[in-house]
Amino acid sequence: MKIGVGLPDLTVKGHPELELPNAADNPVTITVCCECGKLRTVLWLLGDRWYCSSCKATGETRPTLIPLN
């Protein structure tokens, strides 16, 4: 097992977030799922967006090509 080093959290400009107030006037900003907007304990990075496990799974089966006649 490798030893970890504290990484700055990854943020995406314009991504949906939830701001939790803080008595010390230093609110904690929490990234939420970009699709359902829910706060989940685990999010996945796909491209430049974070998805919850449910939306990630849904997205993988979603058509990605425009059908041609």
Binding site: G6, D9, P21, A23, A24, V28, R40, L45
Partner: protein, 144 residues
């Protein structure tokens, strides 16, 4: 017989345990993932840190949570809650050794001792493959 931990008492306990920005100790805690148990179960009260096996491979490493990462204490229907800033794990350079069933917060970058452990709130195991990257949001609730 009645008993209660009122909110102000819980808040003191939470802060003194390091789960609030007003707390000072411990300075750092460490976030780890575990592959033992299941996506909806964790260890017993007798379980120790070694009971929670970290995944191996793929560049996995425990991550540091500083005491300043914990937010303000707030109320939920279950008690008093403190939420930590999200922690991103390194982008996987390969597959993890096994599916991840949850996370735990401990006092060491190696085995150490476990403060608490939890499954993910969607009770779904996470399989990490090459280039996958996840972020985890720890929170603690103390009920009175």
């Amino acid at each position: 017989m009645a008993e209660i931990w009122p909110n102000e008492g819980l808040d003191l306990v939470i802060a003194n345990a390091g789960y609030a920005t007003t707390g000072v100790s411990p300075v750092n805690q460490f976030l780890a993932l575990f592959t033992t148990f299941t996506a909806s179960t964790v260890g017993t009260s007798a379980s120790v840190a070694a009971s929670y096996s970290d995944p191996t491979g793929g560049g996995y490493a425990r991550q540091t949570i500083s005491s300043a990462s914990w937010g303000a204490i707030a109320s939920t229907t279950s008690g008093r809650i403190s939420t930590c800033a999200q922690v991103s794990f390194l982008q996987a350079t390969g597959s993890y050794s096994a599916a991840v069933n949850g996370f735990f917060v401990g006092n060491s970058l190696t085995v150490g001792k476990t403060y608490f452990a939890a499954n993910f709130d969607d009770v779904t195991a996470v399989t990490i493959n090459t280039n996958d990257q996840i972020k985890v949001t720890p929170s603690v609730i103390f009920g009175g």
